[in-house]
Symmetry: C2
Subunit: 263 residues, 2 copies
Amino acid sequence: MAARQDGEAQAVRQRIRSGGYDGQTAGMAPGHVQGNLIILPADWASDFLRFCQANPKPCPLLAVSEVGDPMLPTLGADVDIRTDVPRYRVYRDGELVASPTDIRDLWRKDLVSFLIGCSFSFEEALLADGVPVKHIALGRNVPMYRTNIPCIPAGRFSGPMVVSMRPLTAADAIRAVQITTRFPTVHGAPVHLGRPELIGIKDVTHPDYGEAVPIEGEEMPVFWACGVTPQAALLEARPPLAIGHEPGCMLVTDLVNSRLASL
Amino acid sequence: MAARQDGEAQAVRQRIRSGGYDGQTAGMAPGHVQGNLIILPADWASDFLRFCQANPKPCPLLAVSEVGDPMLPTLGADVDIRTDVPRYRVYRDGELVASPTDIRDLWRKDLVSFLIGCSFSFEEALLADGVPVKHIALGRNVPMYRTNIPCIPAGRFSGPMVVSMRPLTAADAIRAVQITTRFPTVHGAPVHLGRPELIGIKDVTHPDYGEAVPIEGEEMPVFWACGVTPQAALLEARPPLAIGHEPGCMLVTDLVNSRLASL
């Protein structure tokens, strides 16, 4: 995966690192890959790595750090995961205990960082192609749902797949399959389209996470595997320490969205 | 497009040419491309060529002959379009007047042959991937429907797109979009999926051509542009002479289905 050293993503990270920004990152450094963060102790990391390997659609790995190393050099020369995310979430035994803007004081020699691909990347490709993304147009978070599709368990990690939903016309749904198939590291093709009840969603108007978006006229719901899946599995496994990001407050990398395309 | 000179397709054509076979060609010379035939006088051919160019999903051209030349060398060294189709249909002013097994006596120096891609090629790819093709399993012709999707008119040719329908689960429909996208010269990706009424199909249980296939359980109807589209446009235009093939009695070429894949 190729990085673009135009300095825009680096400037965003610098601003965040210096304490100048602690909000959501949507729309910042357009064209650059943003990712979901999960940090775990090494004795939990190998189970989690196997869980991601076994469930690549909800858990597409963009990078895994060396044990104890806070730097993620494949995502940008200066990426320090202790300071470069706007706001973190610290969990102990599965419970949220703090939401700091910096985790240098929590860093340990046994921590491993995972960066998981995010739908921001393929949404940019959809919009560039003229496929409308309704929740963005409405200024809402994407609606997400727990399904009855089981993930493949790995060690202490298991649970249902969580999906995000975007309403599309049939022609746009077909085009969206083509576009997102090209992006396997940011969830790839949809996992379902059409009737929500077939994947265990009882009421599509009440998402489990995010905000509702109406399905209107000729639209059908189209469902993609979602990066909330590994977060949900993680909290259920209740590791003694886990660190993630505040929702929407992502790591902005030097990687280029269009370079994630497999074709 | 590459040909496979294993002699199997050539043997089929030889048998047809010699009068030893005049039936349907489904399943003959597996792996080889079969195509829909349309023959027109030269003064109608350029309008028809423009119609195909403007509507590539229903009218994907595999080959166009030289004016007056009955040979189609890009489809096989010995392909003679006057003798190598099991059974023809001869139309005068849009009316069916004969169904011969040979058209040598009808050949003229101004005739042009068009070979149009057929869904047999992508159905083979679906089956090879494990995506079920229900009408084949049921031993029926594929159901086809006139839609309210207008073709782009060209000269004397116009009319609605005709589509074929295959019932699939959502996961298989997504996979089928991926597979058939790779085959643009045999109709490519679906044009619609889900609610039939959105493309003007009032009763999906009563196809306009072919045979009904039930949509059951978790299946949804998936619609592909169909090679009957240009045949319907042709008959409405009522050229003084047109020659096609008896339904299901196709030209078997030396081309290899898998080589039609764009990727």
